[in-house]
Amino acid sequence: MADREERRFAEVSRESVRLMAESAGVELTDEVAALLAEDVCYRLREATQSSSQFMRHAKRRKLTVEDFNRALRWSNVEVVCGYGAQDVLPFRPIKEGELFFVEDRDVNLVELALATNIPKGCAETMVRVQVSYLDGKGNLEPQGTVPTAVQSLSDDLYKYYQQITRSILGEDPHLMKVALLDLQSNSKIAALLPYFVYVISGVKSVSHDLEQLNRLLHMVKSLVQNPYLYLGSYVRSLVSSVMYCILEPLAASINPLNDHWTLRDYAALLLSHIFWTHGDLVSGLYHQILLSLQKVLSDPVRPLCSHYGAVVGLHALGWKAVERVLYPHLPAYWANLQAVLDDYSVSNAQVKADGHKVYGAILVAVERLLKMKALSLSGSTEVRVDGMSGAGGTIGGRESSPGLSPPPEPQSEPGLGIASHLQAGGAGLPWEEWTPVPLPAMYCELYSFFGDSLAVRFSAGPSVGGSPPVASLQPPGPRKDTPGSGSAGSGGTASLDTTRKMPQLTASLSISPRQDGSPNGEPAPPSLPAPGRSLPRSSSCSSSVQRSRSSSARPGQRPLGPSRDVFPKARFAPLLTRPPAFSFLIGGRQMGRRCQARRFQTSFTPSAALSALPPRGYAHKLPVIGRVSKPLRRWACSHYSLHLPL
């Protein structure tokens, strides 16, 4: 007990103190550093204790940075600036050193100042009155039906909402495209966000209808891509809807003719897209997603299609996720899968087919894992130098942060060890004991599972030297179910060149990490053109960006040009939305970064009505869409008068 009590306090080690002193140009002796460290700990505790009273008096449950700053100010200590964010800032470790830092990206002020797409829908603070309990008995208003509690809708918005939902869920594919397009670019729909999120949460009630599921997912995609929307914690709700499509044994999967695999692929890519672009809106999201994926994967009772979903989900989240969850889990899972695959009975045929799907998905995932890992190992030395010269640009800042040398590291991935304690969802996860496995060992183990089917695709074998660059040229196709021999072949041929053409290949590296690192690099499934994606203007611009990049990189890359050019077009088409999405991100972060006083400028904090309730509650409510009007109307009336006959 005493021990726990002791550990509950923040500890600042004397090494940290000495480091800080050194950075300020002061040399400290051990003794002084120890004394200082202890005093710093005590002062921290003291400030924390006195900050809690500001929280209590502000009638909150959550201690904010502002509270802490007030405590500091009143004890005549300089306040900590720049951390007044509402949400937890991602706290990241650097693996090489025992160093932790808060990610603090550069904000392009010019872009921000000239931005025209400032999120709208900032609602006025207002008072609403509601007779909650009449004579202390009846509850006039059934609690919980209210995503409306936040804002009343104008008639126009309401009509828009109806039109959009009807056309998206309706029969006419053309109308659907138009609707999705508009959803993706309309700047005035902030107020409708909760309703759309609510509609999307209806995935659970249409799990028998692949078409509808697809449409809802497209709707998610449009919302996510809309640069004017501040999703806030609605991200959580969206993610849970998408996760549903990835992981659940949908009713539609009963019929083997339904191609629910594609749906899962698409949903997985969408998930990674949401995560990349909006992951920092919700703290601990990454952990939560990983946790639920892991849960499904480790549950042998679940059908194979769920496992498939978990695997593609992990794959879509990047190789780190694969390394951390899938890889350690593989030995256990392999036994089950093997049993399925080895059963040649007729009754097992369907299950076996599913098993092969899972097998293929795992294979693709681990291959990329191996490739990226090899890349990150070799890349960390060479790429640094010539990579940066090629990169430049706006995201250069991100690239240069040392923790990012493995390219597809998700930006808000919580750190390990100590840092993960800080994450809301991170507590209690078993990742503390996770240690990276060296590549050769990993390869050997994987080889033991997959045998030659792995070796063929990963031509160089355990000798890491030349192969990783190849891997980078060979971005694992998102289509797991068609791991065509073509890709394997091209990988093989390219590997022949590798040894000789190192410089060119490293030059190309400078691009591929950026592509992987850029938020929208992943999510576009070429096989599933989202209806909203056919903006000709921006697609051309994106490909030109692509071309100019590759041309500026190195002339030696030319020979590979064609294959690259084809690829970016197909694969990076969604990149077109990147600039707006990026600036939006800044907007989002900016909003988060603001002190409380100015928070009202954010669009619209999500109502807990959606996020707090377990989604299950909505499962049967999708048809309600038409009926939402009722509460809306009522609110609209009460908007104008607070008068209540007393």
Partner: protein, 753 residues
């Protein structure tokens, strides 16, 4: 001897106050107050008394020297001489002792401490003049100026150096063994000793730089302490060095105030005998120095009795502290002719109540005919005269009152919830006018916003130039002065420079008070929607402010532990009420405006007499900071709610706890009695409103003399029966409750998804 000192110390203490004003920018108020009101000789006398008694109590030479040093430092040469003569000390030895190395260091360290603590003490010292300070642990602290504090700590340290640090654990566990072995009836009582002893022993160890021993001591025994001391223990455990003790307020409280315990004579004898047998001087010294044992004759109390009363920072209140008479009755209502206009009659006829006059006569008559024996004199506190508009309002009130719904367990009030939407700035305070026509919110972004709840919009008065144009003789001049262009549903008041933690409407709805983290209280006009006065005096965040029910006066309390009484037309406080050992978190006026209740983070509620500044009641029993208070409409009872989620009911006249209402799971931020006092409503952070049967709770009071004499309550276990209902909101903490004049319950809070 004390008398001799009195004369000398008094000018001295005044000088102290003045010299502090130089350091303290806003201390001029304090000085002014000190000058305005006769500084009370009581407090200064207690210094002399405590000093001399200390000298007499112990033969320890060092102590005497410390006292001498103190007297010298304060240039009280004469007293020093007297003391020296009486103690038979030589001047040389004094000097030699004084210049000793270790001694100097101590003195130096504590002088620093004094400097740092000066700001803290200046707040307290400044209060000395204003208030006839509370009885109880307060005086010792208040009476000591910023200068003499270090000397006292020198004295304390002189004692604490006696013990061998290694033996502390033995002492403590020895006592523990003893207490565990005594009879059950005594064990509960003696167990009260554990916590204060534990704290003081730990502090002594820390103070004398026995860090390791202190840590071991803490780890070994902190698990034994009652769970409601957890927060304090956490503060303590963080403190492992002498330097940390400097400027730590919690610690100063422990070292300067005595922890009060109530123990029956039998148990006390038992303890005393044990300690004498064992020659356990260490513990005995602590008991003598830091504990105040309030011995009573009679049956020892049971564990539950003790638990219900303990939990405060400084132990229970002494019994004498709650003996003073409190005039809790209501003031006579001024006689106002209620004109029965036709409209009203019709309305009543419609409702089928032919006897329309009767209820009015009743409601007026009972109050106006004879003076309540428990009520204070009508002019005990000068109250403002009623204006015509006030009278009109009273008439309105009475009319409304006739339509009031009688509440009861079978007839619960309807609840309306005022939800603040889109309050991203953070809603920190809410108030609703008595007639429920306006609602105001204080926000963390320093703004105050006022909404009209009726269709009538908020309008400001026209500007001066426009006003000169209007016809002042016209009948509707009151209407004409309003600027129609400014009409809006809500107004925002800008001016504060920090979160607004408390707001309060004046009874006549012309003013609004707000207090903020920036240490100021502001008075806003609801005619012009501008700030009229900024009251400066609290140098630290002000947590709560409230208008008197009769207007004109208001009270504020904050982090500086001093509650202040103000009048709207004085920019300096009229009274300061010092005595709480931690932040004052909420303040409430008694319905008769003669008393003031304050709730504090030291987990006590105090009732102050506005006339003379005395603390007349100290209520202990809460286990967490108190965040809400409410007087019953008849003025007899007080309800308090704290972070521990419990509501306690108190009988003001007898100074007793009546009931403990359990049910809430989080801090209670709002308490309100219904207009006739039948129902108590409580609103909490746990998003619920709960209704309690107040009538039943007050009827159940045991009335035997023994309880009244000793203050030992037997709480019935039926608090769940008293609960009439739980009503949940949706993600909306309830931070304000209000009964309309017709007993409709209004709750308010910010939607907090």
């Amino acid at each position: 001897m004390a008398a001799v000192q009195d004369g000398q110390i008094e000018p001295e203490s005044e000088k102290e106050i003045k010299s502090e004003t130089l350091n303290d920018a806003t201390g001029n108020h304090a000085a002014a107050v000190g000058g305005l009101l006769p500084s009370s000789p009581v407090s200064t006398a207690s210094v002399g008394a405590s000093n001399s008694s200390k000298a007499a109590a112990s033969e320890d030479q060092q102590t005497l020297l410390a006292v001498l040093q103190f007297l010298k430092r304060n240039k009280l040469v004469e007293s020093a001489d007297i003391l020296r003569r009486e103690a038979g000390l030589l001047e040389e030895s004094d000097d030699a002792q004084g210049s000793e190395g270790g001694r100097d260091e101590l003195g130096g360290a504590s002088a620093d401490e004094g400097g740092e603590a000066a700001s803290l003490f200046s707040r307290v010292t400044s209060a000395t003049g204003a208030s006839g300070i509370a009885t109880g642990p307060a005086p010792s602290k208040v009476a000591q100026g910023s200068e003499d504090q270090p000397d006292v700590s020198v004295v304390l340290s002189a004692y604490s150096q006696q013990g061998d640090p290694a033996l502390y654990q033995m002492y403590y566990s020895g006592l523990k063994k003893f207490i565990e072995s005594v009879l059950d009836c005594h064990r509960a009582e003696l167990s009260q000793l554990f916590y204060p002893l534990f704290v003081h022993m730990y502090l002594e160890l820390v103070y004398n730089n026995h860090e390791q021993e202190a840590k071991e001591f803490f780890e070994k025994f902190h698990g034994d302490q009652e769970c409601y001391y957890r927060d304090d223990l956490r503060v303590l455990s963080g403190m492992s060095k002498k330097e940390h003790m400097r400027g730590n307020e919690t610690l100063l409280d422990f070292r300067t105030s005595k922890f009060v315990l109530r123990i029956s004579r039998d148990s006390y004898q038992l303890l005393k005998r044990h300690l004498q047998e064992r020659q356990n001087n260490q513990i005995w010294n602590i008991i003598q120095e830091h504990l105040y044992i309030d011995i009573f004759d009679g049956m020892p109390r049971s564990k539950s009795q003790i638990d219900s009363m303990s939990g405060s920072l400084a132990g229970e209140a002494k019994r004498e502290a709650n003996k003073a008479k409190v005039f809790y009755g209501l003031l006579k209502e001024p006689e106002i002719e209620v004109p029965l206009d036709d409209e009203d009659e019709e309305a009543e006829n419609e409702e089928g109540k032919p006897k329309k006059k009767k209820p009015k006569k009743d409601s007026m008559g009972s109050k106006s005919k004879k003076q309540d024996p428990n009520a204070p004199q009508q002019n005990r506190i000068p109250l403002p005269e009623l204006k015509d508009s006030d009278k009109l309002d009273k008439i309105m009130y009475m009319k409304e009152a006739t339509k009031r719904i009688r509440l009861g367990p079978d007839n619960l009030p309807s609840i309306c919830f005022y939800t603040f939407l889109n309050a991203y700035q953070g809603l920190t305070a809410v108030d609703i006018t008595d007639d429920s026509s306006l609602i105001a919110g204080g926000f963390a972004d320093s703004t105050v916003r006022v909404w009209s709840v009726t269709p009538r919009k908020l309008r400001a008065v026209k500007s001066a130039t426009d006003l000169s144009l209007i016809d002042k003789e016209s009948e509707d001049v009151l209407e004409r002065i309003m600027d129609e262009k400014t009409a809006s549903e809500s107004k925002i008041l800008y001016g504060h420079n920090g979160p607004v933690y408390g707001i309060s409407f004046s009874p006549d709805r012309n003013y609004l008070l707000s207090c903020s983290e920036d240490g100021t209280v502001r008075l806003w006009s609801l005619q012009t929607f501008t700030c009229l006065v900024c009251y400066k005096g609290h140098n630290y965040p002000v947590w709560d402010v409230q208008f008197s029910p009769h207007g004109y006066y208001f009270t504020s309390g904050g982090h500086d532990r001093v509650a202040r009484l103000w009048a709207t037309d004085h920019y300096q406080p009229l009274r300061m009420f010092a005595g709480h050992l931690a932040d004052i978190t909420c303040t409430r006026f008694h319905p008769n405006s003669n008393y003031l209740a304050t709730g504090s983070a030291d987990r006590t509620v105090r009732l102050w007499d506005i006339l003379n500044g005395n603390c007349n009641r100290i209520f202990t029993g809460h286990k967490g900071p108190i965040h809400s208070l409410a007087f019953s409409p008849n003025g007899k009872f007080l309800a308090s709610g704290a972070t521990d989620g419990r509501v306690l009911l108190w009988d003001i006249g007898r100074g007793l706890m009546i009931e403990e209402l359990n049910g809430h799971t989080d801090t209670i931020y709002a308490l309100k009695f219904s207009r006739d006092g039948e129902i108590l409503a409580s609103g909490s952070m746990d998003n619920t409103v709960r209704l309690w049967d107040a009538v039943k709770a007050f009827d159940d009071i045991e009335t035997d003399d023994f309880t009244a004499a000793t203050g030992h309550v037997h709480l019935s276990e039926n608090s769940l029966e008293l609960q009439l209902g739980t009503y949940t909101s949706k993600s909306t903490p309830v931070i304000h409750l209000h009964f309309t004049r017709r007993n409709l319950l209004l709750a308010a809070g910010g939607y907090n998804p």
